[in-house]
């Protein structure tokens, strides 16, 4: 005896079909996609590939596509200035550490 009643409408049938088929696509590997694209003569790894047609995204999205270029430039220059200062700060920190270690040693020997 059947335990479940399923509506036999075409809408329900389409719904079930789509729900099952979308799993196939979710599980598709990158290689599957590349092979399917290759069948169509497309190369999704190439910039501006036809595979991305219809998708409302730039062919190769970059940070500069989203953010103001002047603001971006100033942030980048600030970052590079910080990086150039970083070795100097590190050298000073090391020198300070060495100095404090030496003073501790001196103190220890005086105690003895």
């Amino acid at each position: 005896m059947r335990t479940k009643l399923t509506p036999a409408t075409s809408t329900a049938a389409l719904g079930r079909m789509l729900d099952q088929l979308d799993r196939e696509l979710i599980e598709a590997s990158d290689e599957d996609i590349l092979e399917a694209a290759r069948d169509l003569g497309m190369n999704p790894l190439m910039k501006g590939s036809a595979a991305f047609i219809g998708l409302r995204v730039p062919a190769m999205a970059q940070f500069a596509d989203f953010f103001d270029s002047d603001a971006l430039r100033s942030v980048l220059s600030m970052r590079s200035a910080q990086q150039s200062l970083a070795p100097e700060a590190e050298r000073q920190r090391k020198a300070r550490r060495l100095k404090s270690e030496k003073s501790i040693e001196r103190k220890d020997s005086a105690d003895k």
Binding site: T6, T9, S10, T11, A13, L14, G15, R16, M17, L18, D19, Q20, L21, D22, E24, L25, I26, E27, A28, D30, D32, I33, E35, A36, A37, D39, L40, M42, P44, A50, A51, F52, I53, G54, L55, R56, V57, P58, A61, F63, D65, F66, F67, D68, S69, A71, L72, S74, V75, M78, Q82
Partner: protein, 202 residues
């Protein structure tokens, strides 16, 4: 006294002339890869079948991204992003279908609300919309079957899926091995991907 300076990351201002689409945000935030985008394109194209003509697959995809980014849909831990977005698209499709059929209940319903004068308002369902929906669905099923017209095994699997049968039930009914079943599903996957990638070109 020692002092530490922590450089806070500074986020540059958004370009005033550029308006980000949810999909672009997802890409910029590395929520998905470019391959995932193609995967999602094929999935959106699939779920857009049978939707009203004013709702395109791209609308479905952008809306799924919006719900994920805004947080109206929360991604459960461990669920891959593509599966999560596909789930949103699935429920958006159902939502559209329900709306087409006339309201959330889609059957003739009587609102029971004692607080308002509208307590006796009846939400009548248009039986014609069901018929229209069924015709649309039938048309889409035929379009999907057309994709596998030269593959009788795939067609039989499709029929089984439409009836809500499990893989084991389909294999038993068709008397085919698991290997044959799996290779047919692989062919189907490839066809669906091809179909998904070509859309937008035609």
């Amino acid at each position: 006294m020692r002092s530490a300076i922590a450089y806070m990351p500074q986020i540059p201002q958004l370009a005033e002339t550029k308006v980000l689409r949810p999909a672009e945000v997802a890409l910029a935030l590395n929520l998905i890869s470019r391959m995932d985008f193609l995967r999602l394109k094929a999935i959106a194209r699939l779920h857009a079948r049978g939707l009203p003509p004013d709702v395109g697959w791209d609308d479905l995809l952008q809306e799924a991204f919006t719900r994920a980014i805004v947080g109206s849909r929360r991604k459960p831990q461990g669920v891959p992003m593509v599966a999560f977005l596909a789930g949103i698209m699935r429920s958006l499709r159902s939502e559209h279908w329900r709306r087409t059929r006339g309201g959330p209940g889609f059957r003739e319903t009587l609102r029971i609300d004692h607080q308002r004068d509208l307590s006796r308002a009846a939400e009548l369902h248009d039986p014609g919309s069901d018929l229209e929906q069924a015709l649309l669905a039938r048309e889409q099923i035929e379009a999907i079957e057309e994709l596998f017209a030269d593959d009788p095994v795939a067609l039989a699997i499709l029929a089984g899926l439409a009836e809500g049968r499990s893989a084991a039930q389909i294999r038993a009914a068709m008397k085919i091995t698991k290997i044959d079943y799996d290779s047919a599903r692989k062919r189907m996957r490839r066809t669906l991907l091809r179909e998904g990638l070509t859309c937008g070109l035609n």
